[in-house]
């Protein structure tokens, strides 16, 4: 991949954000909030950290990414399109009949999408399987799985976490988008997750806590996780749901709702103002 600077990666993240609001506005539906909180990490993964070849999506040596929080498909599709997996113009077909860009990612429909997700709590198990296959076959690819924080209320995650430690999946990196909001509101008011790093550690994982909107911290954490020797690693990134659009920030109302006309004009203006 091109060796982007931190500033360039930040700019790409904002471009992805603009795509997210435009895609969800065009679809009149979708999940902008969690897409915006994940955008910096997604930019770091697809434009810096991950080994992949958009012209050859099935390349055997690629790193594998599983989006367990499948509802933030828009930010993944935006990254895939901007990377060159498919034309950027296709993005506006999100959630339309006949489109490859389904509301939640589907393996086999979209080049670059590894697994079908959307029902929460399943991606980490799938990622364990991919990482395990890599170990069995002596391949050196990494498997990266992005999880929502509310999603961790699904018990299957913890089955997978136990398994990953048991199987010695040091080639597996989990990323938790800790934006603290689920549909109901504050995760701690629904069914609390804290102390979250301690939970992961007690399941046999390394836990790295970062500011998920600080590109330097993101890159450092990924580098550290990639070099883990003894245990799988989770990066818990503290984020702001709706990051980058003032009225969406920390607003659970934009979990699964697109902008209206007036909001859209404001969102686009705010994002365009920061994009170089």
């Amino acid at each position: 991949m091109t060796d982007y600077t931190v500033a360039e990666l930040e700019n790409i993240a904002n471009k992805l954000r603009l795509h997210v609001v435009e895609m969800t506005y065009a679809a009149r539906s979708g999940h902008p909030g969690g897409s915006l909180s994940a955008a910096d990490m997604i930019a770091a993964l697809y434009f810096k950290f991950m080994r992949h070849d958009p012209k050859n999506p099935d390349w055997d040596g690629r790193d594998r990414f599983v989006l367990s929080k499948g509802h933030v498909a828009p930010v993944l599709y935006a990254a895939l399109a901007e990377s060159g997996y498919f034309p950027v113009d296709d993005l506006l077909s999100l959630r339309q009949v006949g489109s490859k860009l389904q509301g939640h990612p589907v393996r086999g429909k979209v080049p670059g999408v590894e697994m079908s997700t959307g029902s929460l709590g399943q991606g980490l198990s799938m990622a364990c399987g991919i990482a395990l296959a890599g170990k069995m076959d002596g391949k050196d690819y990494k498997t990266i799985c992005m999880l929502g924080d509310g999603e961790l209320q699904e018990g299957q995650n913890w089955e997978a976490a136990m398994f990953a430690h048991q199987a010695g999946l040091t080639n597996l990196i989990a990323i938790v988008d800790r934006n603290r909001l689920q549909i109901t509101g504050d995760t701690e008011g629904a069914v609390g997750l804290e102390p979250l790093p301690e939970k992961w550690k007690s399941f046999g994982w390394n836990a790295i806590i970062i500011d998920g909107h600080n590109m330097r911290q993101i890159l450092e954490a990924l580098d550290k996780a990639a070099n883990a020797k003894a245990r799988p690693t989770v990066i818990i990134m503290k984020t702001v749901k709706g990051k980058g659009v003032s009225f969406m920030e920390n607003n659970a109302g934009f979990h699964g709702k697109a902008c209206n006309d007036e909001e859209q004009a404001r969102a686009v203006a705010e994002l365009k103002a920061v994009i170089q």
Binding site: V66, M115, S116, S125, M126, C128, G129, Q156, A160, F163
Partner: protein, 313 residues
């Protein structure tokens, strides 16, 4: 030898142990029941491609999907109730939707599980697995067919659910029986009634045909070892001749083989149909043979159903 009492799961284990040597892509998984499902035979032959997930069926399915997406042919086994019901939605999203190469192979299906009782007796598994797009559903008639089917599943690229029983029961097919997905076999020809069976009930169907013969009734017996896709051609040909049909399965009459046959008859030429199976009920603890009597799953029940079907012509 045909007629010998053998457990299907032992032949599943035998086939897996051979696959360990024949196919380097095969990975076998279990959820703490390897000794019962006989995946332990594969584990012994090839520990490096055996995956123990602990008591975590949902996780097993997700891992199976990830392995299959990475080029593996995955067999994931546990008891029927847990292999299907516990993780149905995981199977739906992770395996069936992307059409991944995962074989969910369950043992301990049906009421003949016996003493463990209703919690462990899968009587709805075919119904819920049949409803999934892309899913093939197989129920071999005896240990020899279970062996042949296991080998065939390894060759087929896509999701399959295969159900087997727990108990030893008489083999009815030859040791070198062939199995092809979607292909039923006519085991005995007759002109008066078609009896379609799957799994352990096929041997009872054959016994029923003998008893009916003594009363001058000629029954045609079909081993419908693939429930989905159903061999509608063999079924249609048979009922066109006999004019009535009976299904027999160790499963609820809701959603299983009986329903699949009813659907096929609705789509084609309808004939009177009687379904032998559990009647919208859970099972209970008890000796398998006593349970088969209490829940209407015996040779005598098939004979009665056949006469009823003929009476409705």
């Amino acid at each position: 030898m045909t007629g010998e009492k053998l457990a299907q799961r032992n032949y599943y284990g035998k086939a897996l142990a051979e696959l360990a040597k024949e196919d380097p892509n095969v990975v076998v998984m279990d959820a703490d029941l390897a000794g019962s499902t006989k995946t332990s035979d594969f584990q012994k032959a090839c520990p490096e491609r055996f995956v123990e997930v602990g008591i975590a069926e949902s996780n097993m399915i997700g891992i199976a999907a990830g392995l299959a997406a990475s080029g593996k042919t995955v067999f994931a086994s546990t008891f029927g109730v847990f292999a299907t019901g516990r993780c149905w939605e995981q199977i739906r999203l992770a395996v069936a939707y992307p059409k991944l190469n995962v074989k969910i192979v369950a043992t301990h299906c049906g009421i003949s599980v016996g003493e463990d009782g209703a919690s462990h007796q899968a009587l709805e598994d075919v119904a819920i697995m049949r409803a999934l797009p892309n899913m093939v559903v197989v129920a071999p008639a005896d240990a020899y067919e279970a062996y042949a089917a296991t080998k065939e599943l390894a060759r087929y690229n896509g999701p399959v659910y295969m159900r087997m029983g727990r108990a030893d029961f008489p083999t009815i097919l030859s040791e070198d029986v062939e199995f092809h997905i979607g292909k039923a076999t006519v085991l005995r020809e007759g002109k008066d009634v078609t009896i379609v069976g799957c799994g352990q009930m096929v041997s009872s169907c054959i016994e029923a045909a003998e008893q009916l013969k003594a009363e001058g009734i000629e029954a045609e017996i079909i081993n419908m070892s693939t429930i989905k896709p159903l061999d509608t051609e063999t079924l249609a040909k048979s009922v066109a001749k006999t004019g009535c049909c009976v299904t027999a399965e160790e499963h609820s009459i809701i959603g299983g083989l009986g329903s699949a046959v009813a659907e096929a008859l609705c789509d084609g030429n309808w004939v009177p149909l009687e379904r032998v199976g559990t009647k919208d009920t859970f099972g209970e603890s008890g000796k398998p043979d006593k349970l088969m009597v209490k829940y209407g799953l015996t040779t005598a029940d098939i004979v009665t159903a056949a006469k009823k079907a003929i009476g409705r012509k």
